[in-house]
Point group: C2
Chain length 126, copies 2
Amino acid sequence: MARAKSTVKPTEAELTLLNILWQMGPATVRQIHDAVSTTQKTGYTTVLKILQIMHEKALVIRDETNRAHVYAAANSETHTQSSLIKDLISKAFGGSTSKLVMRAIDESTSAEEIDDIRQLLKSLEK
Amino acid sequence: MARAKSTVKPTEAELTLLNILWQMGPATVRQIHDAVSTTQKTGYTTVLKILQIMHEKALVIRDETNRAHVYAAANSETHTQSSLIKDLISKAFGGSTSKLVMRAIDESTSAEEIDDIRQLLKSLEK
DNA sequence: TACTGATTACGACTACGTTCGTAATCATAC
DNA sequence: GTATGATTACGAACGTAGTCGTAATCAGTA
């Protein structure tokens, strides 16, 4: 029996920071704030506070060895994406994955993306 | 030029009521409350209040002709699903639809659903 | 017309998310 | 050892979501 992973759904601000952590790997508050500042104007302590809350929720882990704590995402990007998708499928698509895929693909979806999806489907054939 | 539709993202409680409205069609607060009561224990005035807020947000329209107002979803289920999916793709999948589809399909996805997706892909070929 | 039951309107309360200012703490340099 | 700058901790403030109680309103009936 495995089972665990509370599956806390990250809020929007939290997801923003997770995206940064997934991309950069473990980082200090300052590094994370610098990264987020390139696209938003969020105060340093705001980022710190959100990271602290995420730590309470176990969305991130942190290394307190040094003065400047080092934060890292607790779950993989893939894991989190899967849980977000499952949540949406159940709440807005009546549990139907195919319905979701139909809505996801539209005229703005590039040919490359559709090719990728075809490859995925093909790989499931065997 | 068309363009309009504010694209207000419904909250979770709002989405619950929208699902009921899409399924039942236009309905009174009482009917909606009865429907929601089969799965949850929510007060009548709570449902009423949420519907009033949704009306302010233009998520629903309402017919005030009769004493008991009749509410209806302002946007189609398809339209709302598309907007929710696009939102998730941009916030959690770096804008990649194919990545989302990859995460959406897993071992729990039935063969029928995968078939449906194959059909969709096939219909895009021409 | 007055009563009664149902419906809408209003507002209060709690919880959470987001923001940030200020205080406390620490490490380093002097 | 003390001052200085950076970092963490704390908590306040604001908005939104969700909940519901109570008041106001209306329609139909006795």
